[in-house]
């Protein structure tokens, strides 16, 4: 490709950061260092470009987190080092909301004003920021979509140039004015026990959460860690796939697709290079289950990925985690190091399993949780979903057969391998097997992640969370997150299984259960949801790019002064978005609004 750079140069600091992020010394950049030999021969061209492009996001992300913004000089330097055309790099940099291409103070506060937080103190917090009453030094602030902390509202995520990013939650968030944020370092865990069900005997997915030291592999090993990997190696690849098939495990990321079909397709592929991706982007408003697993039981995620990589014959796995999860990222990186050190991970692991894992941090884009957008994001392209077919199992990451599963989905593999697929299938119902995590937030007494066997009813879960706070009663529940639908109390007796949900015309999505009380302004909630989709659509396909805007406009009119036919218009838009959009975002963007209208919530 033609590569033409502007003259802007990086600072010494930026240069150092890029070298660290990419591992490519300056001397191998496109045209910077001239040596006797590269004045005579030079290898460039397509191949090296393909090889380096996937480093674009890590490079941008590292500059952003170290310097606080991506200057023209830094961008050009990245382009030179990676042989990426500047216009393309610009297109990628401007895709992510956590990357700033304008000068930025060292601290940026992203304050959640999404569905739960906005009803639990966030709007007030934002007012105080807006008025200048709260004003952390050297900072700016911006509203943010759900930060995956809905059980401890209100929440803020703080980017801090050159220091660890951090998350502040609950009352701390407002108290932070004038304090050094270091006092609330990401290692200082929030005080209440991480899960309300802590210590209960039925826990499987959550059994180690709060019980093991997430920073210590010894603690994990002592709690039975890595027995599953050992068992898997003993069984051999084919058996592992067979057990997963017998288990009936279905995806927990939202689409509920049987895991074994993906695994088997990739395991049987003639193509030798294959990939595994663990989808840890968890950005569906109201969802925070994967965070709890990753923060408090990171080794089980690593072990589960290793088993999966082994079973499908992949040598490399990527864990794509949203940028707003600094604590989980930190603990997972540590876990990877520890596992490698113990010979449990990596090319020449003592286990004989040749598999390694790389963490990729997202940079603020809900759409990058969609599996093919995620792959494009890893490849250094804009996070735009791909048209399917071909499916990732045939042509996924870097065009190779790829299994992508959600964090929770993968964590189930540990028990499947140790206990057998049949035993796993005994849990839950025939079509919804195993344990399931639900994220309860909003109008409940004890918000948090709850683990139940498939089959528990909606009402039982709300009761687990202590029911609604005193004096409030249930008006509606948002099931499945922003991409899900509202249901009325008449469905409290519905078992939360894939089949029962589908029969009721709703979806469990990522396991969000968000009760709303009688005082809820649903117009406000729906507007936030509409804004969310408009902000988060990648914008490539017309039905979704424009449809999300037209929905937002129609809703604004409905709340103020409807035009005749506005409700029908919403239905028309919804139909076209479901039918003609490329990906699940467009397909689901109008569901919550439609259901609220149908149920008379607005």
């Amino acid at each position: 490709m033609d590569l033409r750079f502007t003259d802007a140069q990086p600072t010494a600091e930026e240069r150092r950061v890029v070298e660290r992020a990419t591992g490519i010394p300056d001397s191998e950049s496109h045209d910077r260092v001239r040596t006797d030999s590269n004045l005579r021969i030079f290898r460039t061209g397509r191949r090296s470009v393909v090889n380096r492009r996937h480093l674009l996001l890590p490079a941008l992300e590292t500059v952003q987190s170290e310097i606080g913004w991506v200057s023209e000089g830094a961008l050009m330097h990245i382009c030179r080092v990676l042989s990426v055309p500047p216009a393309e790099a610009w297109g990628v940099a401007t895709f992510y909301s956590l990357i700033s291409v304008d000068p930025s103070p060292p601290q940026v506060w992203h304050i959640c004003d999404d569905i739960v937080c906005r009803r639990q103190g966030a709007l007030d917090l934002i007012d105080r920021f807006e008025s200048g009453e709260l004003q952390p030094p050297d900072s700016r602030w911006a509203p943010s979509p759900c930060l995956g902390q809905c059980d401890r509202t209100p929440a803020a995520y703080i980017q801090r140039a050159g220091k660890d990013d951090m998350v502040v939650v609950g009352p701390d968030t407002a108290r932070l004015n004038g304090l050094s944020p270091d006092r609330h370092s990401p290692n200082g865990r929030p005080q209440p026990p991480p899960i309300p069900q802590f210590g209960q005997p039925h826990l499987r997915l959550l059994r180690r959460v709060g019980a093991v030291d997430p920073g210590s592999i010894d603690s994990y090993l002592a709690a039975g860690g890595y027995q599953a990997l050992e068992a898997a190696v003993r069984m051999g690849r084919a058996r592992v796939v067979a057990e997963v098939k017998a288990s009936g495990l279905r995806g927990r990321g939202g689409a509920a697709f049987p895991a074994w079909i993906k695994w088997e397709t990739v395991a049987n592929s003639p193509e030798p290079v294959r990939y595994l991706i663990c989808n840890a982007d968890e950005s569906e408003p109201g969802t925070f289950k994967d965070r709890v697993l990753m923060e408090d039981d990171p080794f089980s995620v690593v072990e589960a990925m290793t088993i999966t990589g082994f079973a499908i014959g992949a040598r490399r796995g990527y864990l794509y985690i949203r940028g707003e999860y600094p604590l989980a990222t930190k603990r997972l990186s540590r876990a990877l190091q520890e596992a490698r050190r113990q010979g449990l991970l990596g090319e020449d692991a003592d286990t004989g399993v040749d598999f390694d894992i790389e963490i990729r941090r997202g940079q603020g884009a809900y759409i990058c949780g969609e599996e093919t957008a995620l792959m494009n994001s890893i490849e250094g392209l804009r996070g735009e979903p791909r048209n399917k077919p071909p499916f990732p199992t045939v042509s996924g990451l870097f065009g190779k057969p790829t299994v992508i599963n959600n964090v929770e989905t993968l964590c189930n593999v540990l028990d499947i391998v140790t206990e057998g697929g049949d035993a796993f299938a005994q849990l839950g119902t025939a079509q919804s097997t195993g344990p399931k995590l639900f994220c309860l937030s909003g109008a409940v007494k004890r918000p948090g992640v709850y683990e139940v066997e498939f089959g528990a009813t909606l009402g039982e879960l709300i009761d687990l969370a202590g029911g609604l706070p005193d004096g409030l009663h249930l008006r509606a529940v948002l099931l499945g997150g922003a991409a899900g639908s509202f249901v009325l109390p008449d469905l409290l007796s519905m078992p939360l299984t894939f089949e029962a949900a589908s029969e009721a015309g709703v979806s469990l999505g990522s396991g969000v259960i968000m009760p709303f009380d009688q005082h809820t302004d649903f117009g406000d909630i729906l507007t936030r949801i509409a804004e969310f989709f408009r902000d988060e659509t990648c914008g490539q396909c017309v039905p979704c790019r424009v449809g999300t805007v037209r929905l937002e406009e129609a809703l604004a009119r409905l709340r103020r002064q409807p035009r005749p036919g506005d409700k029908d218009l919403i239905a028309e838009i919804d139909l076209a978005m479901r039918d003609a959009s490329i990906c699940g975002l467009g397909h689901t963007a109008a569901i919550a609004l439609r259901s609220a209208l149908d149920l008379g919530l607005l």
Partner: protein, 528 residues
């Protein structure tokens, strides 16, 4: 091209000079082809290459011979093809024997391992294309350079097959067509030998005039003839030798000494300004009817879109009127009538009626009759068993260093080339306001810029054994120390041909534009 496995651009910056051809290269690369670039500069094209080999100016034959030796010593040549379809192999093989990789490295400056890589990759490929342009042909030994490349292709059987071949890229839209039409000293239209009595008789019968049975002079010989005083009058059609000749000072001087000069051109070029009579011509591609032939031998129609300005007329109208004035009543034949006469005389154009050219969007010669689809691969006959027609001979070519040698006084190698948006001497493209153009400059490497303490934009004086000019400097990362570059487009600002040498290739008559020895100094400060 699209399906080639290996593409070599040799002395060709096609990215800039032939952008649309380069689109095809890109397509091949996207499908997995490996691209190699042989060029002293790390040009725009080289930026696309898997491997760029930055050879010394004028060492192409050395590189080719060293590759050939490597191919032979590793047994990678295509024996069956050589034995069945070529001549003179043994002599050629002997001649390259001394070209070890080490010697290749010494002469070309390119590391032996890179030469080896190129040789092996080219020889092992199933389908390989070898493309070149003026980087090869604007040398005193231009013909030898081309023969050296042909040798390589014959050695590996990379000719006349799907995906394999030799691709000379022409610098102008109708250079090929000019040759087709007999505008070369020793040929009649359709490459028919002027010294062949039978062929000449065929033309004489139709033309009703006798044709001198001797070959004519090419441009460089014409200037020699002017110098010797044999040639006293000149009729120049669409050429601008007063700007484009190597050693323009000599050329201008000689043309000034002529008794009579007529220039027929669409511009009042520097040559036209020196003429006794100027015949304003129409622009052939948009003000006249006719045909042109592209590098890939594709004959296509051109059509008038504009009325020519003022008194300008099409070339054919001028020539017919001139003929009438000289007492030959040709009338005013249409372009198609002229073309049909040509088709009757030139067998390789026989099948190319205007109707078929129209329907097919052009045809590639040879196209013998109206049923002939035209020839996609020129030398496919060599693959027939047994081969059809004459076998392809290897030519022994010996490397000789550039005539203008580097010495302590002239230690720097100056080479020339073109920029994407400009064209030859710049008279055509110069009137379009291109946002890209940065004018005539002397491009120097960053190292030389530092060493000579010459900054971007600073005026420098460039001196060769023939003359001296002053131009602003421009720092260019595509150059290495000791190599400087000037584009040929800006005679007004940087009259590069004052510097270049008159040495020319005795076989083709092309001059040595590519290798001049110079020294570079800061220009003396302007007084006042």
């Amino acid at each position: 091209m699209d399906d080639a496995e290996v593409v070599i651009l040799w002395g060709s910056n096609a990215r800039a000079a032939h952008p649309i051809f380069f689109h095809r290269v890109i397509r091949a690369v996207r499908r997995g082809a490996q691209l190699f670039c042989v060029d002293p500069r790390r040009s725009e094209s080289a930026e696309w290459a898997d491997l760029w080999l930055g050879i010394d100016v004028g060492s192409d034959i050395a590189l080719s011979n060293a590759m050939a030796r490597e191919i032979l010593s590793e047994g990678l040549e295509n024996r069956r093809f050589i034995e069945r379809s070529t001549l003179n192999f043994d002599e050629y093989a002997r001649s390259v024997e001394k070209w070890t990789l080490e010697r290749g490295e010494r002469v070309t400056g390119v590391p032996a391992h890179a030469i080896r890589t190129l040789a092996h990759t080219y020889a092992r490929a199933d389908r390989a294309q070898l493309c070149w342009t003026l980087g090869i042909t604007e040398h005193h030994n231009a013909t030898d350079n081309v023969l050296a490349l042909i040798n390589l292709a014959l050695l590996c059987g990379h000719v006349g097959r799907y995906g394999s071949g030799l691709v000379p890229l022409r610098g102008q839209n109708n250079v090929q067509g000019g040759g087709d039409m007999g505008a070369i000293p020793n040929k009649l239209p359709g490459f028919q030998d002027v010294e062949n009595d039978e062929l000449r008789a065929k033309f004489e019968k139709v033309w009703g005039a006798s044709i001198p049975p001797r070959k004519g002079r090419h441009l460089t010989l014409m200037f020699e003839a002017m110098e010797e005083g044999h040639l006293r009058g000149l009729y120049v059609i669409g050429e601008n030798p007063a700007d484009s000749e190597a050693d323009v000072q000599r050329a201008r001087h000689l043309m000034e000494g002529l008794d009579f000069m007529v220039v027929q051109d669409i511009f009042l070029t520097r040559t036209a300004q020196m003429a006794d009579v100027v015949l304003p011509a129409a622009a052939d591609w948009c003000e006249a009817e006719g045909t042109v032939t592209s590098s890939e031998r594709r004959v296509q129609r051109v059509r008038p879109a504009l009325r020519p300005p003022g008194e300008a007329r099409t070339d054919s109208s001028i020539i017919s009127h001139l003929a009438a004035a000289l007492g030959h009543g040709w009338g005013q034949p249409t372009a198609e009538e002229v073309w049909n006469e040509l088709r009757s005389l030139s067998p390789m154009h026989g099948g190319m009626s205007y109707r078929r050219l129209e329907e097919n969007g052009g045809l590639q010669w040879p196209c013998l009759d109206e049923d002939d689809p035209g020839e996609l691969f020129l030398h496919s006959r060599l693959w027939a068993n047994p081969p059809v027609g004459p076998l392809a001979p290897f030519h022994v070519v010996e490397w000789a260093p550039p005539v203008d040698s580097l010495t302590a006084d002239y230690p720097i190698r100056l080479t020339t080339g073109r920029h994407l948006d400009s064209y030859n001497t710049g008279v055509q493209s110069g009137s379009t306001a291109s946002p890209l153009r940065f004018g005539g400059t002397l491009d120097i490497s960053p190292e030389d810029s530092a060493e000579w303490e010459i900054a971007e934009g600073e005026e420098v004086r460039v001196t060769s054994r023939r003359g001296s000019i002053t131009v602003p400097a421009r720092v260019d990362h595509s150059l290495r120390p000791g190599l400087v570059f000037m584009s040929v487009h800006f005679p007004e600002q940087a009259d590069i041909n004052k510097l270049t040498i008159e040495a020319w290739d005795p076989k083709s008559g092309t001059a040595e534009f590519k290798a001049t020895a110079v020294r570079v100094e800061k220009a003396p400060a302007l007084v006042g």
